[in-house]
Symmetry: C2
Subunit: 115 residues, 2 copies
Amino acid sequence: MNSFDMKALQREILLGFWKVHVLHHASERPVIGQWMIQELRRHGYDVSPGTIYPLLARMEERGWLKCTTDPDGGLRARKEYSMTRKGQEVLDLLRKQAEELYREVVLGEDEKETE
Amino acid sequence: MNSFDMKALQREILLGFWKVHVLHHASERPVIGQWMIQELRRHGYDVSPGTIYPLLARMEERGWLKCTTDPDGGLRARKEYSMTRKGQEVLDLLRKQAEELYREVVLGEDEKETE
DNA sequence: CCAAGTTATTACGATTATCATAATCGGATA
DNA sequence: TATCCGATTATGATAATCGTAATAACTTGG
């Protein structure tokens, strides 16, 4: 298959992409950790709970997502993360960056100069 | 300005984008650490040497980039990183991912189903 | 009603990446 | 030769990620 270290690539770069996907999905419907794990597996990537859950928790801490749980659901009830105003701002910026990235590295357009 | 923690955003997500830019640039002409720092500054982002140089060194370790230096240039001669075959494979995969990301979060296309 | 699976999250210790800042090196400038 | 500039290196602290195991609550079958 690939001749390179996929684990390193996931950690250094792809995980960042997936975080953008998470924010995007969260802006349409609530996201839960387990869904994210399965979704990535479906795409052929394997990411451990020890990565996913802390990641969502950090996004909540930072105010990018808000978390709701069934209060009667017990200690490990499923957590639904949905978008906040701040998260939306982050996502807006990320969309711009994702577009720049696409234009430059996929389409091969030159960077626009800041004059 | 922004109401969110830009430092966290840079660290968790944007830095990954910039790594893709680095690989892309390296596939066209050699890249050096100082250039990268200035380029990011030009775009309004501030990243420290303690991030950039280890990052390039890791890419070399992993065989994604190869490094050439003027052998008579002394201990801190400028290092030029250029693309390797393995790095090109990494970049190819990243281009696909960047395109998926763009289609989904910028254009709002639905994911393609794996049936 | 109990045992066994299923769906989820949490805990944890080890490893790796990132950060800010200071130090260093060598060439150019004056 | 003293100073500045372009670059990289060193370092110690902090933060993110990893794999694995533990836990909790529901569901299902006998």
